[in-house]
Amino acid sequence: MLEIEIDGKTVSVPTGGTVMDAAALAGIYVPHFCYHRKLSIAANCRMCLVEVEKAPKPLPACATPAANGMKVKTHSELAVLAQKSVMEFLLINHPLDCPICDQGGECQLQDLSVGYGGVESRYAEDKRVVANKNLGALISTDMTRCIHCTRCVRFGQEIAGVMELGMAGRGEHSEIMPFVSRTVDSELSGNMIDLCPVGALTSKPFRYSARNWELSRRKSVSPHCGLGSNLSVQVRNNRVMRVLPFANEAINECWLSDKDRFSYEGLNAPDRLVKPMIKQGGQWREVQWKDALEYVARGLKDIASSSGAGAVGALATPHSTLEELYLLQKLMRALGSDNVDFRLRRSDFRGKTRGAPWLGMKIAQISELDRVLVVGSLLRNDHPLIANRLRQAAKRNLEVNFVNPTSDDFRIKAKNRAVVSPDDMGGMLENILNALSDPSKAAGDAGNIARSLASGKHVAIFLGNLAEQHPDAARLHDLASGIADRLGAKFGFLGEAANSVGGYLAHAVPAGDGLNARQMLENPRRAYLLWNAEVDLDMNDPKAALAAMEQADMVVAFSAYRHKAYEYADVMLPIAPFAETSGTFVNTEGLAQSFSGVVSPQGEARPGWKVLRVLGNLLDMSGFDYENSESIRDEIDLSCASFDNSIEEEPSALVAAPGLQRVGYVPIYFSDAIARRSEALQKTALAAAPCAWMNAALMARLGVREGEPVLVRQGEGEARLNAALDAALADECVRVAAGHPLTANLGPMFGLITVERL
């Protein structure tokens, strides 16, 4: 520790700390633009110049190492003079167009110019004008306002891991720009908007829609991936106008993925379901809630009494709230049916765990790991911010090893990548497990990975979405946990969705001999309750799901949207999305985060828990008299005792059939109903139409070329896609996205597939 005196206060700074760190510890604000605690130090804005005793000139606080006995004055005459002179230079070419600038009111330059700027400029020359750049659908540019702090550039290089912006040109002609005719396509790009201290980079979807002082800020939790990012949802006139990160070092730090940030557009999508509807005689008509729910209650009673309650099945997405999932299963069980499941994209339901499967550790602990094995995960696609934690740790001493059917560039320094077909993933894990008995002798990827893992002190094995959606998921689970046991490592699931853990805590899975999500399709039911689920997009086997819905006597779709259920459902009931209801998401580390609604429900939509409460009452069930969502939550055991990744029964290996294998995955902006409906996200490069990705060898064997249309067949279904080259895909695999309308006619996410030239 170093002792330094800053503005008369003595503070202790860790060795290696800077004057800026010392100021922060002393609670002293030093004006700055380029400095950001999460980015490398650039020291280019010069705004943080301070007086340091014995230094002949003012020094930048951000880049000056603290030294024992140093005496710093941040607001002395010399310091303020220097700061004011920098402000003058920053403003001479700045357009000062605050009245028409979206950043106005939350602009660091505007704020600091109040304290450090002159009333009138001494600059009488023409101002610089810089051409705007097209950075894509999410970031809007006004480059004349740029003050060249390079935060956006450093963010790309250091956090997102991909340099999509740079400063080209020299001197006055310096400009922040993307590569020629390229846009910013990173899944974390929106953070550049937050980082930009001026109005050079602003949010394209939000642009010109509100001034920030008109917005009320309300805390919420992201309903998308398993991370549970904390949100500051900003609202005007009962409408969500934008979403910004709510900093939480233990979860999302100060970042948000673009999905968390821009999905809010989906809340105001044109296809919002705002009235209860019943289909009668093939015609949809709007009805009162009371009529609709009585209709549903009557229907359920009729089917239960004629065919038994087991004829009813309930399917909910893991993006539903804990309270909704809990009440849904409670209702089903009160009805007498154990057919309830929220694991819609799973296909292998063997390998029941003793508790709720979870990350097996705290998210923040990822940063302390020194060895990790990630099995079956498209990290950037599925877990953008967990990927960032691994990326940052890999820059220190973390060795990251992958077992994946693809070799996507996660912009993480990888120690080893075993790229194997889905069928061979289990074999690879087995080899790693065997190699651990004598790591020095083992050869190949398995040996390298075993050696890497065995040499660590803080080791973790993670299963990603592909591993969970895999047809042999239970065996992957068993083998991975075996590797972890052997190493004394942490073991867990990255977690697909906001309530992938919460669904287990809510018991929204079959407990006895009830049917799971897959069995409910394979053994079609007479009635289905669909909770948020769009079966053609949210399920592992959309084709089977649609068929099951079409044959059913009654399908009740509880949804915020008028989706495809319009074609197959009998009742559509508008329930509130996360922003319009209170509820809880239990993130992948098992943290239950409750939130309140930030706006009132649109139209006749109602919070899901209230709908289920009334339905329970109509069905004369006891224990449905909840006053608020908190009282529902309080019934659920959320203690850490509920988490357990260990498997009750060891699964046997599946026998793989020879042939081309599908590698299914859900593209980042198709993961859930809200993200799918964000207009801006759907315009990004990451939301491009799915292709049939193959490696060069397979393309050559099939005689197809990149960009050519091909017919992809899986079981009875088929899809017309364009062939595309994924050079690093495992042999004899075709990567075809799921969760997308273009592929909704295909079968399960994994399995045999054929590709023909068209």
């Binding site: 190492p65 920098v86 920053l90 001479i92 020299r170 001197g171 006055e172």
Partner: protein
Amino acid sequence: MEQILLKGLDGDRTWHLADYVKRDGYAALRKIFSEKMTPEQVIDQVKKSALRGRGGAGFPTGLKWSFMPKNYDGDKYLVCNTDEGEPGTFKDRDIMRFNPHQLIEGMIIAAYAMGIKVGYNYIHGEIWETYTRAEEALEEARAAGFLGENILGSGFSFQLHNHLGYGAYICGEETALLESIEGKKGQPRFKPPFPASFGLYGKPTTINNTETFASVPWIILHGGEKYLELGRPNNGGTKLFSVSGHVNRPGNYEVPLGTPFAKLLEMAGGMRGGKLKACIPGGSSMPVLPGEIMMDLDMDYDSIAKAGSYLGSGAVIIMNDTVCMVKALQRLSYFYFEESCGQCTPCREGTGWLYRVVDRIENGHGKNEDLDLLLGMTDNIQGRTICALGDAAAMPVRSFVKHFRDEFQYHIDHKKCLVPSYA
């Protein structure tokens, strides 16, 4: 008058190894190996010589070398700064053109003294021909066993490479130069850390100017004290001066430090047309001095500094009384405006503003408050930037206005030039 750098360069093809060897070339290196001089002894001689960095800052070379970590396991680098871009300076180019082996020998000795195995010579982008000659010299030295593995059987190995820049002035700033070698945009790094601890590729690195390295073999061969005696205390040895402007014989002149300016002017053939009005004694970024002050000065670091300027790179720019000082400053300010890297605020925004105001005055649109504005601006740039380019842009403005304020005022008042030839 003893010469060290230009001695014997009046012959043919002096840049070849054979010619250099005839002029005692590589004798210093042989001496080190045959006398088994230790690295400490080499540095000691350089310290005794009072050799100061010839690139402009005049930092004591021996002291700089002693900053390099000694018992260090990893790579260390030696870099020669031949990115000579300062207006008025053309001395390193001539060393490279006519005497490249002296530089190579100096670098080998330096590498030996600091235990360095790899070196780079960063050559200014606009002197392609010189670069090809430097490449030939390296080939010759390698073939003769002066470079490479186990040099002259000593067990010491050193690899040296030339690196051609792209002509950016800023790459003469040592950390921008390092960035450029690394393949990045040439932008200065903020210091600390200094190159001795975090240099090329993040490794300990020593960077010296071409002339500095080229002076080393003589120091080793004849002893540091002999070198010091050539010049003055704290200003050891000889110095190359690039004399340009209104003189009859512009060119490079090697004289002992401490030689009177009047003598140097005489060597350069005296004034061409008119009488001496002003002189920039150390390259365009150093403050200008009026002729009458210059005539009383000796050419060494301390004397020039006492008079309010700096010896800098030793580029002596002579201006006679037909020169309009406003026009001259306009030209200089344009240079710094063009060459600012744009990284930090005061320089990026300030150099353009300086130029525009000077340009306005030159073109008859100056305002009365402009001179104070200019001086105020230089206060706000100087000492506030990441590297010295901000200072380099500010110092000419400050000194031109200080010493020739009447000319600037005349431009503002009369919308025309005070100097008859420009009126």
